[in-house]
Symmetry: C2
Subunit: 261 residues, 2 copies
């Protein structure tokens, strides 16, 4: 029995959905509405005390952290292997997924939060917002909500995160160019592709000026290969209730402006 | 043939030395003098373009990132297993080592850098310092050197990192108390103990007010068990040339003051 608690396909949720769909694993989907702050409700914090999606419950055992979930999913379920068989290959894959978690994801995530949270909380009174904040278990997450819902991050930090996004895009494009193969590690499609794509997926929408056919042709070709996979299609067509319920205005315009000179 | 490029036993270098010594793996030790900025020299950047230790070269294959190195070392060399045999246990171990990399280590590391770098660069002229900076390959590392060598981080950020260190110490103590076993994951000594200890090792020196017998008895008992291991002793008695050559004054005093109200 596999239960998956997740939001709409995007970011860390998309990472886990991609692995499950690529392996062809059956699971019970439990949608957690981030725009309704369900991840901070008591019932959910009993499953993941950090108050974050995704989290899986497999035969009664709870696992959080999307990167770790994917390694576990690959190890225990049938389906195509998503990790290299040799230990050196595994290490190279781990360096990519670790880099996504520690560098690429935080940079993108801070920029996205800075743009998104105002929209999510705009209908709340200050008292209602404060009540929501009090339910967030991690102090760092509380701070992120408070800052992004009010004044936002300072321009200097937005600029540095944008620079990190640019550096990341160049790094991926160069790696693909240098080995000239289809996937991040070379011939085998792995969790490294899944980790990178889970973050890069919305980029052609908000970062056309740094990720495009001219400047990063190898990255774009890889992106198009990813979009053609059955696993990617199955993951991306999971319900996206936030897109239906919340009007997130002017995404492209805001993302393309913040953090720029 | 295993070559290990490392600094004195501490932080991420200690993490890898502990795993190697626990497994009883023979290796060629290559000491990289951080106080002489050797990690930014061209010969070293040919091995690790990031200009960071530790890095290993095994049968011609280069692996960086201490956490990944340890998983590789455990997988390919003889000696006691440092990871749980079952996949759920592996996932729980990975969540601990990931948390050390993303939370505990950065908080400790920023505080230590803020105190240490001034001592390291105090004999350089501004021109000499700038020349050293230009050799650092990662922009983030350049920024860290520049800030800590001059005005240091703002008090507000030091305070937040100190709070994260306190939160970390409480989290480890609670985990040990709750399961009542000897090691981080329970009965088996694993890479989770190694990752946590590599960071916690200097804490009884600089953070006695938050890590002590009274407030964190389970953490202190675990720390003492760690200190009694042959692997720990073998790693900690590796050459510590920085301690011999650089006088890092008033460590306890500085660390116990910074980031406090």
């Amino acid at each position: 029995m596999l239960d998956v608690y997740h939001a709409e396909p995007g970011a860390n949720t998309l990472k886990v959905l991609l692995a499950l769909k690529e392996k062809g694993v059956d699971f019970n989907s439990h949608y957690v509405a981030l725009n309704k702050f369900e991840q901070h409700e008591e019932w959910f914090k009993k499953i993941n005390p950090n108050g974050q999606v995704p989290v899986i419950v497999h035969d009664g055992k709870v696992i959080n952290e999307s990167t770790v979930i994917n390694e576990y999913v690959d190890a225990v379920f049938e389906g195509p292997a998503l990790r290299p068989a040799d230990e050196y290959g595994k290490a190279m894959m781990r360096i990519w997924t670790k880099w996504v978690d520690e560098y690429f994801c935080p940079a993108l995530s801070y920029l996205a939060w800075n743009w998104m949270i105002k929209s999510l909380v705009k209908d709340l009174t200050p008292e209602e917002f404060e009540a929501k904040l009090q339910k967030i278990p991690l102090k760092e997450q509380q701070d992120k909500w408070r800052i992004t819902a009010t004044e936002g991050y300072p321009e200097e930090r937005l600029k540095e995160w944008r620079r990190q996004v640019e550096t990341s895009v160049t790094k991926i494009d160069s790696a693909l160019r240098e080995h000239g193969k289809d996937w991040i590690l070379g011939d085998q499609f792995t969790l490294a592709d899944i980790s990178v794509f889970a973050m890069a997926h919305p980029m052609p929408m908000g970062y056309q000026d740094i990720m495009n056919e001219e400047d990063t042709p190898h990255l774009m070709a890889w992106y198009n290969r990813m979009m053609e996979r059955d696993g990617t299609n199955a993951a991306l067509t999971m319900p996206n209730k936030m897109r239906e319920e919340v009007k997130l205005d002017d995404r492209v315009d805001v993302l393309s402006k913040q953090g720029k000179e």
